[in-house]
Protein backbone atom coordinates (compact mmCIF):
# COMPACT_ATOMS: atom_id res chain seq x y z
CA UNK A 1 0.00 0.00 0.00
CA UNK A 2 2.66 2.44 1.10
CA UNK A 3 4.88 1.24 -1.66
CA UNK A 4 2.25 1.92 -4.28
CA UNK A 5 1.60 5.41 -2.95
CA UNK A 6 5.33 6.06 -3.16
CA UNK A 7 5.69 4.92 -6.73
CA UNK A 8 2.62 6.93 -7.75
CA UNK A 9 4.23 9.98 -6.22
CA UNK A 10 7.43 9.21 -8.08
CA UNK A 11 5.57 8.87 -11.36
CA UNK A 12 3.72 12.14 -10.78
CA UNK A 13 7.04 13.84 -10.12
CA UNK A 14 8.57 12.48 -13.31
CA UNK A 15 5.53 13.62 -15.31
CA UNK A 16 5.66 17.12 -13.83
CA UNK A 17 9.37 17.44 -14.55
CA UNK A 18 8.85 16.12 -18.09
CA UNK A 19 6.04 18.58 -18.74
CA UNK A 20 7.93 21.60 -17.50
CA UNK A 21 10.78 20.59 -19.77
CA UNK A 22 8.58 19.92 -22.79
CA UNK A 23 6.74 23.19 -22.37
CA UNK A 24 9.92 25.17 -22.97
CA UNK A 25 12.03 23.12 -25.33
CA UNK A 26 10.81 20.86 -28.10
CA UNK A 27 12.00 17.25 -28.09
CA UNK A 28 14.71 16.44 -30.64
CA UNK A 29 13.44 14.55 -33.66
CA UNK A 30 16.83 13.75 -35.08
CA UNK A 31 20.03 15.61 -35.82
CA UNK A 32 18.17 18.01 -38.10
CA UNK A 33 15.11 19.64 -36.52
CA UNK A 34 13.33 22.01 -38.89
CA UNK A 35 10.71 23.16 -36.38
CA UNK A 36 10.13 26.44 -38.21
CA UNK A 37 9.87 24.63 -41.56
CA UNK A 38 12.20 26.92 -43.45
CA UNK A 39 14.71 24.42 -44.87
CA UNK A 40 14.28 23.44 -48.50
CA UNK A 41 14.32 19.78 -49.43
CA UNK A 42 17.75 19.75 -50.99
CA UNK A 43 19.49 21.44 -48.05
CA UNK A 44 17.61 19.14 -45.70
CA UNK A 45 19.05 16.11 -47.48
CA UNK A 46 22.55 17.62 -47.41
CA UNK A 47 22.26 18.34 -43.69
CA UNK A 48 21.05 14.80 -42.98
CA UNK A 49 24.05 13.36 -44.79
CA UNK A 50 26.57 15.63 -43.04
CA UNK A 51 25.18 15.03 -39.55
CA UNK A 52 25.09 11.26 -40.11
CA UNK A 53 28.66 11.26 -41.39
CA UNK A 54 29.94 13.33 -38.48
CA UNK A 55 28.26 11.00 -36.03
CA UNK A 56 29.35 7.75 -37.66
CA UNK A 57 32.86 8.61 -38.70
CA UNK A 58 33.99 11.02 -36.00
CA UNK A 59 31.64 10.61 -33.05
CA UNK A 60 30.56 14.26 -33.38
CA UNK A 61 26.91 15.13 -32.80
CA UNK A 62 25.86 18.12 -34.88
CA UNK A 63 22.34 19.32 -34.19
CA UNK A 64 20.73 21.72 -36.66
CA UNK A 65 17.63 23.47 -35.34
CA UNK A 66 15.31 26.06 -36.81
CA UNK A 67 12.72 27.61 -34.55
CA UNK A 68 10.17 30.39 -34.95
CA UNK A 69 11.08 32.26 -31.78
CA UNK A 70 13.39 31.80 -28.82
CA UNK A 71 11.14 33.77 -26.44
CA UNK A 72 11.27 34.14 -23.49
CA UNK A 73 15.05 33.80 -23.83
CA UNK A 74 17.30 35.81 -26.07
CA UNK A 75 18.77 33.65 -28.84
CA UNK A 76 22.19 33.31 -27.20
CA UNK A 77 20.79 32.12 -23.90
CA UNK A 78 18.33 29.85 -25.70
CA UNK A 79 21.10 28.10 -27.61
CA UNK A 80 23.06 27.38 -24.42
CA UNK A 81 19.98 26.11 -22.61
CA UNK A 82 18.83 23.99 -25.53
CA UNK A 83 22.29 22.44 -25.77
CA UNK A 84 22.15 21.66 -22.06
CA UNK A 85 18.63 20.33 -22.30
CA UNK A 86 19.34 17.98 -25.18
CA UNK A 87 22.83 16.98 -24.05
CA UNK A 88 24.32 17.19 -27.52
CA UNK A 89 27.62 15.33 -27.98
CA UNK A 90 29.19 12.08 -26.87
CA UNK A 91 31.02 11.34 -23.61
CA UNK A 92 33.86 13.63 -24.71
CA UNK A 93 31.43 16.55 -25.13
CA UNK A 94 31.73 16.40 -28.92
CA UNK A 95 28.55 18.34 -29.60
CA UNK A 96 27.77 21.25 -31.91
CA UNK A 97 24.51 23.15 -32.24
CA UNK A 98 23.45 25.41 -35.10
CA UNK A 99 20.31 27.32 -34.21
CA UNK A 100 18.30 29.58 -36.51
CA UNK A 101 15.58 31.74 -34.94
CA UNK A 102 13.27 33.15 -37.61
CA UNK A 103 11.53 35.95 -35.67
CA UNK A 104 14.72 37.19 -34.03
CA UNK A 105 16.58 36.81 -37.35
CA UNK A 106 19.39 35.19 -35.42
CA UNK A 107 21.89 32.50 -36.29
CA UNK A 108 23.64 31.03 -33.27
CA UNK A 109 26.28 28.33 -32.90
CA UNK A 110 27.17 26.63 -29.61
CA UNK A 111 30.28 24.47 -29.33
CA UNK A 112 30.55 21.62 -26.83
CA UNK A 113 33.57 21.57 -24.51
CA UNK A 114 35.27 18.96 -26.68
CA UNK A 115 35.10 21.09 -29.83
CA UNK A 116 36.17 24.44 -28.39
CA UNK A 117 39.77 23.77 -29.41
CA UNK A 118 39.03 22.89 -33.01
CA UNK A 119 36.34 25.54 -33.41
CA UNK A 120 37.25 28.65 -31.40
CA UNK A 121 34.61 31.37 -31.19
CA UNK A 122 36.51 33.63 -33.57
CA UNK A 123 36.53 31.02 -36.30
CA UNK A 124 32.83 30.29 -35.81
CA UNK A 125 32.13 34.01 -36.01
CA UNK A 126 34.06 34.33 -39.27
CA UNK A 127 32.00 31.55 -40.87
CA UNK A 128 28.83 33.15 -39.55
CA UNK A 129 29.79 36.42 -41.26
CA UNK A 130 30.22 34.61 -44.54
CA UNK A 131 26.95 32.70 -44.13
CA UNK A 132 25.06 35.88 -43.23
CA UNK A 133 26.30 37.94 -46.17
CA UNK A 134 25.93 35.12 -48.71
CA UNK A 135 22.71 33.44 -47.57
CA UNK A 136 20.87 34.52 -44.44
CA UNK A 137 20.63 38.19 -45.37
CA UNK A 138 18.81 37.03 -48.53
CA UNK A 139 16.57 34.71 -46.49
CA UNK A 140 18.19 31.61 -47.97
CA UNK A 141 17.95 29.70 -44.71
CA UNK A 142 18.45 26.13 -45.97
CA UNK A 143 21.56 26.84 -48.08
CA UNK A 144 22.99 28.98 -45.26
CA UNK A 145 22.67 26.18 -42.74
CA UNK A 146 24.10 23.70 -45.21
CA UNK A 147 27.04 26.04 -45.88
CA UNK A 148 27.76 26.26 -42.15
CA UNK A 149 27.50 22.49 -41.64
CA UNK A 150 29.91 21.89 -44.51
CA UNK A 151 32.35 24.50 -43.22
CA UNK A 152 32.34 22.99 -39.73
CA UNK A 153 32.74 19.49 -41.16
CA UNK A 154 35.83 20.70 -43.03
CA UNK A 155 37.23 22.38 -39.91
CA UNK A 156 36.64 19.26 -37.84
CA UNK A 157 38.20 16.84 -40.34
CA UNK A 158 40.58 14.51 -38.55
CA UNK A 159 39.03 15.05 -35.11
CA UNK A 160 37.75 11.83 -33.59
CA UNK A 161 35.74 11.30 -30.47
CA UNK A 162 34.40 8.35 -28.53
CA UNK A 163 30.78 7.52 -29.23
CA UNK A 164 28.07 7.54 -26.62
CA UNK A 165 28.32 4.62 -24.27
CA UNK A 166 26.66 3.44 -21.09
CA UNK A 167 27.80 5.43 -18.12
CA UNK A 168 27.41 3.28 -14.98
CA UNK A 169 25.49 4.67 -12.06
CA UNK A 170 27.63 4.99 -8.96
CA UNK A 171 24.79 4.82 -6.52
CA UNK A 172 23.91 1.27 -7.60
CA UNK A 173 27.00 -0.20 -5.91
CA UNK A 174 26.29 1.72 -2.75
CA UNK A 175 22.79 0.36 -2.56
CA UNK A 176 23.92 -3.18 -3.29
CA UNK A 177 26.13 -3.02 -0.20
CA UNK A 178 23.28 -1.71 1.92
CA UNK A 179 20.99 -4.42 0.58
CA UNK A 180 23.66 -7.04 1.29
CA UNK A 181 23.89 -5.92 4.91
CA UNK A 182 20.13 -6.12 5.30
CA UNK A 183 20.00 -9.58 3.79
CA UNK A 184 22.84 -10.67 6.06
CA UNK A 185 20.96 -9.44 9.11
CA UNK A 186 17.76 -11.12 7.97
CA UNK A 187 19.65 -14.38 7.52
CA UNK A 188 21.31 -14.01 10.92
CA UNK A 189 17.96 -13.37 12.56
CA UNK A 190 16.38 -16.34 10.86
CA UNK A 191 19.26 -18.54 11.89
CA UNK A 192 18.74 -17.68 15.54
CA UNK A 193 16.92 -20.58 17.21
CA UNK A 194 14.29 -18.48 18.79
CA UNK A 195 12.92 -17.42 15.48
CA UNK A 196 13.04 -20.45 13.23
CA UNK A 197 12.62 -19.86 9.51
CA UNK A 198 9.05 -19.33 8.44
CA UNK A 199 7.86 -18.04 11.78
CA UNK A 200 5.74 -14.91 11.66
CA UNK A 201 6.45 -11.35 12.78
CA UNK A 202 10.13 -10.61 12.59
CA UNK A 203 10.88 -11.78 9.04
CA UNK A 204 7.92 -9.92 7.61
CA UNK A 205 8.80 -6.71 9.36
CA UNK A 206 12.36 -6.69 8.14
CA UNK A 207 11.41 -7.58 4.61
CA UNK A 208 9.13 -4.55 4.52
CA UNK A 209 11.88 -2.36 5.86
CA UNK A 210 14.39 -3.27 3.24
CA UNK A 211 11.87 -2.77 0.45
CA UNK A 212 11.24 0.71 1.64
CA UNK A 213 14.90 1.53 1.87
CA UNK A 214 15.50 0.34 -1.64
CA UNK A 215 12.85 2.55 -3.08
CA UNK A 216 13.38 5.96 -1.57
CA UNK A 217 16.55 7.55 -2.85
CA UNK A 218 17.38 5.54 -5.92
CA UNK A 219 14.65 7.17 -8.03
CA UNK A 220 15.66 10.83 -7.65
CA UNK A 221 19.39 10.16 -8.02
CA UNK A 222 18.91 8.37 -11.29
CA UNK A 223 17.15 11.07 -13.21
CA UNK A 224 19.00 14.32 -13.27
CA UNK A 225 21.16 14.45 -16.38
CA UNK A 226 20.87 10.83 -17.43
CA UNK A 227 20.11 12.05 -20.89
CA UNK A 228 20.21 8.67 -22.57
CA UNK A 229 17.09 7.72 -20.67
CA UNK A 230 15.52 11.08 -21.35
CA UNK A 231 15.94 10.78 -25.08
CA UNK A 232 14.71 7.21 -25.13
CA UNK A 233 11.67 7.96 -23.03
CA UNK A 234 10.31 10.67 -25.28
CA UNK A 235 7.51 10.07 -27.73
CA UNK A 236 8.04 10.52 -31.45
CA UNK A 237 9.84 7.33 -32.40
CA UNK A 238 13.11 6.67 -34.19
CA UNK A 239 15.57 9.09 -32.63
CA UNK A 240 17.34 7.69 -29.59
CA UNK A 241 18.47 11.03 -28.17
CA UNK A 242 21.87 12.63 -27.88
CA UNK A 243 24.85 11.34 -25.94
CA UNK A 244 24.70 13.66 -22.93
CA UNK A 245 27.47 16.06 -24.03
CA UNK A 246 27.95 19.41 -22.30
CA UNK A 247 28.90 22.94 -23.28
CA UNK A 248 29.87 26.00 -21.33
CA UNK A 249 28.37 28.75 -23.48
CA UNK A 250 31.09 28.88 -26.13
CA UNK A 251 30.33 29.74 -29.73
CA UNK A 252 29.16 32.79 -31.60
CA UNK A 253 26.02 34.40 -32.95
CA UNK A 254 24.86 36.98 -35.50
CA UNK A 255 21.69 38.93 -36.23
CA UNK A 256 20.88 39.46 -39.87
Amino acid sequence: MRKRAGSLLGLALVLIVAQVVLAQFPAPQGYVNDFAQVIDRRSLAELEVITEQLKKEQGIELAVVTIQTTAPYDPTEYRTRLFEEWGIGGPEDSGLLILLAVDERAIEVETGYGLEGALPDGKVGAYLDQAVSRYFAQNQFGPGLSFLAQAFQRELAGEEFASAEERGSESAGDWLIALGIFILIVILLRRSRFYPPGSGGMGGGIGGGSGRGGRTIIVPTSFPRSTGGLGGGRPGGGFGGFGGGRSGGGGAGRRF
Binding site: T76, E77, G122, A126, A178, F194, I206, G249
Partner: protein
Protein backbone atom coordinates in the same frame (compact mmCIF):
# COMPACT_ATOMS: atom_id res chain seq x y z
CA UNK B 1 18.86 -15.16 26.65
CA UNK B 2 16.18 -15.09 23.99
CA UNK B 3 14.74 -11.68 24.51
CA UNK B 4 17.83 -9.62 25.09
CA UNK B 5 19.58 -11.18 22.11
CA UNK B 6 16.73 -10.18 19.82
CA UNK B 7 16.52 -6.77 21.47
CA UNK B 8 20.21 -6.23 20.90
CA UNK B 9 19.91 -7.18 17.27
CA UNK B 10 17.00 -4.79 16.77
CA UNK B 11 18.91 -1.96 18.44
CA UNK B 12 21.94 -2.82 16.34
CA UNK B 13 19.79 -2.67 13.24
CA UNK B 14 18.37 0.72 14.17
CA UNK B 15 21.84 2.09 14.87
CA UNK B 16 23.02 0.72 11.54
CA UNK B 17 20.15 2.35 9.64
CA UNK B 18 20.69 5.70 11.36
CA UNK B 19 24.44 5.46 10.81
CA UNK B 20 23.95 4.75 7.15
CA UNK B 21 21.56 7.66 6.91
CA UNK B 22 24.19 9.97 8.39
CA UNK B 23 26.89 8.71 6.05
CA UNK B 24 24.57 9.08 3.08
CA UNK B 25 23.51 12.62 4.03
CA UNK B 26 27.10 13.61 4.68
CA UNK B 27 28.24 12.23 1.34
CA UNK B 28 25.48 14.01 -0.54
CA UNK B 29 26.39 17.25 1.26
CA UNK B 30 30.00 16.84 0.19
CA UNK B 31 28.88 16.24 -3.40
CA UNK B 32 26.77 19.39 -3.35
CA UNK B 33 29.53 21.45 -1.76
CA UNK B 34 32.00 20.24 -4.37
CA UNK B 35 29.52 21.21 -7.08
CA UNK B 36 29.30 24.73 -5.63
CA UNK B 37 33.08 25.09 -5.38
CA UNK B 38 33.81 23.76 -8.85
CA UNK B 39 31.14 25.91 -10.45
CA UNK B 40 32.66 28.95 -8.77
CA UNK B 41 36.07 27.89 -10.09
CA UNK B 42 34.56 27.89 -13.57
CA UNK B 43 33.29 31.45 -13.06
CA UNK B 44 36.78 32.56 -12.00
CA UNK B 45 38.28 30.73 -14.93
CA UNK B 46 36.12 32.58 -17.42
CA UNK B 47 36.66 35.97 -15.73
CA UNK B 48 40.40 35.37 -16.06
CA UNK B 49 40.03 34.35 -19.70
CA UNK B 50 38.03 37.47 -20.36
CA UNK B 51 40.67 39.67 -18.76
CA UNK B 52 43.29 38.10 -21.05
CA UNK B 53 41.14 38.62 -24.12
CA UNK B 54 40.61 42.25 -23.22
CA UNK B 55 44.36 42.68 -23.00
CA UNK B 56 44.72 41.33 -26.55
CA UNK B 57 41.86 43.53 -27.71
CA UNK B 58 43.58 46.59 -26.27
CA UNK B 59 46.79 45.72 -28.11
CA UNK B 60 44.86 45.51 -31.38
CA UNK B 61 43.07 48.80 -30.80
CA UNK B 62 46.40 50.50 -29.97
CA UNK B 63 47.57 49.68 -33.48
CA UNK B 64 44.86 51.94 -34.91
CA UNK B 65 44.13 54.42 -32.16
CA UNK B 66 47.38 54.85 -30.28
CA UNK B 67 46.46 58.28 -28.92
CA UNK B 68 43.47 57.10 -26.87
CA UNK B 69 45.76 56.74 -23.86
CA UNK B 70 43.18 57.33 -21.17
CA UNK B 71 40.98 54.35 -21.88
CA UNK B 72 43.99 52.07 -22.20
CA UNK B 73 45.17 53.07 -18.74
CA UNK B 74 41.70 52.58 -17.28
CA UNK B 75 41.53 49.09 -18.69
CA UNK B 76 45.01 48.19 -17.51
CA UNK B 77 44.16 49.36 -13.99
CA UNK B 78 40.85 47.52 -13.85
CA UNK B 79 42.49 44.41 -15.23
CA UNK B 80 45.28 44.36 -12.67
CA UNK B 81 42.72 44.93 -9.90
CA UNK B 82 40.80 41.93 -11.16
CA UNK B 83 43.90 39.76 -11.25
CA UNK B 84 44.87 40.84 -7.73
CA UNK B 85 41.36 40.40 -6.27
CA UNK B 86 41.07 37.62 -3.71
CA UNK B 87 37.50 37.51 -2.47
CA UNK B 88 34.52 37.02 -4.78
CA UNK B 89 33.25 40.47 -3.74
CA UNK B 90 36.52 42.15 -4.83
CA UNK B 91 36.46 40.20 -8.05
CA UNK B 92 32.94 41.41 -8.76
CA UNK B 93 33.84 45.03 -8.09
CA UNK B 94 36.95 44.89 -10.26
CA UNK B 95 34.99 43.10 -12.95
CA UNK B 96 32.36 45.82 -13.17
CA UNK B 97 34.96 48.58 -13.51
CA UNK B 98 36.58 46.49 -16.22
CA UNK B 99 33.16 46.30 -17.86
CA UNK B 100 32.69 50.04 -18.01
CA UNK B 101 36.23 50.60 -19.32
CA UNK B 102 35.62 47.95 -21.96
CA UNK B 103 32.40 49.69 -22.96
CA UNK B 104 34.35 52.92 -23.58
CA UNK B 105 36.99 51.05 -25.56
CA UNK B 106 34.35 49.56 -27.83
CA UNK B 107 32.67 52.94 -28.20
CA UNK B 108 35.98 54.48 -29.26
CA UNK B 109 36.57 51.75 -31.82
CA UNK B 110 33.35 52.81 -33.58
CA UNK B 111 35.23 55.87 -34.82
CA UNK B 112 37.86 53.81 -36.64
CA UNK B 113 36.44 52.05 -39.69
CA UNK B 114 39.76 50.36 -40.47
CA UNK B 115 39.89 48.92 -36.97
CA UNK B 116 36.34 47.65 -37.26
CA UNK B 117 37.26 45.83 -40.45
CA UNK B 118 40.43 44.32 -38.96
CA UNK B 119 40.16 40.52 -39.00
CA UNK B 120 41.80 40.01 -35.64
CA UNK B 121 39.63 42.71 -34.06
CA UNK B 122 36.53 40.88 -35.30
CA UNK B 123 37.91 37.57 -34.07
CA UNK B 124 38.69 39.01 -30.64
CA UNK B 125 35.21 40.50 -30.40
CA UNK B 126 33.76 37.07 -31.11
CA UNK B 127 35.99 35.47 -28.51
CA UNK B 128 34.93 38.17 -26.08
CA UNK B 129 31.22 37.70 -26.81
CA UNK B 130 31.66 33.93 -26.44
CA UNK B 131 33.39 34.43 -23.12
CA UNK B 132 30.63 36.75 -21.91
CA UNK B 133 28.19 33.97 -22.63
CA UNK B 134 30.46 31.48 -20.87
CA UNK B 135 30.53 33.76 -17.83
CA UNK B 136 26.74 34.05 -17.90
CA UNK B 137 26.45 30.26 -18.16
CA UNK B 138 28.99 29.62 -15.40
CA UNK B 139 27.20 32.16 -13.21
CA UNK B 140 23.82 30.53 -13.80
CA UNK B 141 25.23 27.10 -12.96
CA UNK B 142 26.95 28.45 -9.87
CA UNK B 143 23.73 30.07 -8.68
CA UNK B 144 21.80 26.86 -9.35
CA UNK B 145 24.34 24.90 -7.32
CA UNK B 146 24.18 27.45 -4.50
CA UNK B 147 20.39 27.30 -4.49
CA UNK B 148 20.40 23.52 -4.11
CA UNK B 149 23.10 23.76 -1.45
CA UNK B 150 21.34 26.43 0.59
CA UNK B 151 18.05 24.60 0.40
CA UNK B 152 19.57 21.27 1.39
CA UNK B 153 21.42 22.51 4.45
CA UNK B 154 18.26 24.13 5.79
CA UNK B 155 16.09 21.07 5.35
CA UNK B 156 15.54 18.27 7.79
CA UNK B 157 17.34 15.92 8.30
CA UNK B 158 20.35 17.30 6.42
CA UNK B 159 20.23 20.46 8.55
CA UNK B 160 21.38 18.36 11.53
CA UNK B 161 24.34 16.94 9.62
CA UNK B 162 25.17 20.35 8.16
CA UNK B 163 25.24 21.94 11.61
CA UNK B 164 27.27 19.08 12.98
CA UNK B 165 30.00 19.69 10.39
CA UNK B 166 29.71 23.48 10.37
CA UNK B 167 28.42 23.85 6.79
CA UNK B 168 27.19 27.33 5.94
CA UNK B 169 24.97 28.94 3.33
CA UNK B 170 26.74 30.42 0.28
CA UNK B 171 26.12 33.76 -1.42
CA UNK B 172 24.61 34.05 -4.87
CA UNK B 173 26.63 35.72 -7.61
CA UNK B 174 24.76 38.82 -8.71
CA UNK B 175 25.67 40.13 -12.12
CA UNK B 176 26.93 43.71 -12.27
CA UNK B 177 24.64 45.94 -14.28
CA UNK B 178 27.02 46.25 -17.22
CA UNK B 179 28.01 42.59 -17.36
CA UNK B 180 24.62 41.54 -18.60
CA UNK B 181 24.98 43.39 -21.84
CA UNK B 182 26.93 41.12 -24.08
CA UNK B 183 28.94 43.19 -26.54
CA UNK B 184 27.81 42.34 -30.04
CA UNK B 185 29.56 42.64 -33.32
CA UNK B 186 27.13 44.43 -35.57
CA UNK B 187 27.08 44.16 -39.35
Amino acid sequence: MKKWAVGLLVIGLIVLVIGMGIVRSYNSLIDLETAVDSSWAEVENQLQRRADLIYNLVETVKGYASHEERVFTEIAEARSRLLAAQSPADQMAANSSLDSALGRLLAISEAYPELKADASFIRLQDELAGTENRIATARRRYNDAVEVWNRTIRRFPTVVIANMFGKEARAFFQASAGAQEVPRVGF
